[in-house]
Symmetry: C2
Subunit: 203 residues, 2 copies
Amino acid sequence: MRSEILPTGQRSFIEEARRAQIIAAAIEVIAAGGFAKASLAAIAKHAGISKGVISYHFAGKDELMEEVVNQIYDTIAERVLTSMKGQETATELLRTQVLSVAGHMRGHRTQLQALGEIFHNLRDAAGKPRYGVQSSEELYTSLERLYELGQRTGEFRSFDIRVMAVTHSAAIDAMFEYWVVHPEHDLDAHAIELADLLESAVK
Amino acid sequence: MRSEILPTGQRSFIEEARRAQIIAAAIEVIAAGGFAKASLAAIAKHAGISKGVISYHFAGKDELMEEVVNQIYDTIAERVLTSMKGQETATELLRTQVLSVAGHMRGHRTQLQALGEIFHNLRDAAGKPRYGVQSSEELYTSLERLYELGQRTGEFRSFDIRVMAVTHSAAIDAMFEYWVVHPEHDLDAHAIELADLLESAVK
DNA sequence: CTAAAATTTGGCCATGCGGTCAGAAATTCT
DNA sequence: AGAATTTCTGACCGCATGGCCAAATTTTAG
């Protein structure tokens, strides 16, 4: 038994490596068979370890799932925000956001599939979604700032920025899900088309 | 034991009523607690009957779920298609589709919540989604016809109708999910705003 | 080298699941 | 009425799940 709970920063390298290995296995199992089939036994088997190891390194299945979400979410947020740093106008920001997310998708299909599965399926003890629309609030306000900037500078017409943010976010998710089901679909072309579409919608 | 399997049209009124009662109970249980908590036991308890009755009237849980989907889907399709009958131009059709779906949502929140749960969660024996993006093909082609009409008449600009259809569909779904999580949100206003947004996107 | 601590194993547990069934109850038929 | 059929009940089955733990093993510390 680990003698005490340590803050994240004080975990040993070995422990951190094991946790990362388990998280990676969880992502692959979830993406391959869906959330419902991603049992601790299945994840452990895929990682080549005993089931108890997961219980040893994570407080429970819920903590494991939240760590999976955190890791994936941090990765994409960092990439997209970085790529948007250089842009000035709201139009540039809008197009860059869409294209940069799409660019991330191609290299992280499995991770984003797992993320979607957990978002749609993970529930708290009361049966309410752990993630879901309400946990997208941060993303919505971020997109709202983008559209509000465009309205302030006169680039964009007048419209409801909340509806626009919700729609924008849904359009991105749909692009990904469509591409997952139809791998031959041209993701880049879809992204460019979507950027055109959103730009046209607000001008 | 029922002596034989009869075609749908030859089921007795009593049996049809029981099936409808069970389907209604299933919808309420799924909407209230999510797909994962909607066990046969929970559905039976909510309907005030024994669990075995469900097995007696349905071949299994999967058949029950498909009947739930069929009933809900038929209801909404009929309403929306009917409301679009009177319209002529692609712009009118577009706006009517969005507003009529939103109108349906307010009176059928529970049913559509259950529909979404089943769509996102029901899997076949191999673990692949029973419904999902690929089962939206019919809806996509229907929306594509609408947009293609607008392009042919010159109402709409040139764009990829498949990307537009996928985005349109996702925007509708997102509007519903956002409203479910934020019941105080003005659904009608959102629908009008979305219709403006889509119209602006294609003109 | 030895003792202590950390890590892993493999089996066990209670719980809940979908599905089944014999017999009871209700309904329909003659 | 009584017999035949349909419907319902409540208990039961095999199975999978997440979590747990004593003992075995490996790593670290003195």
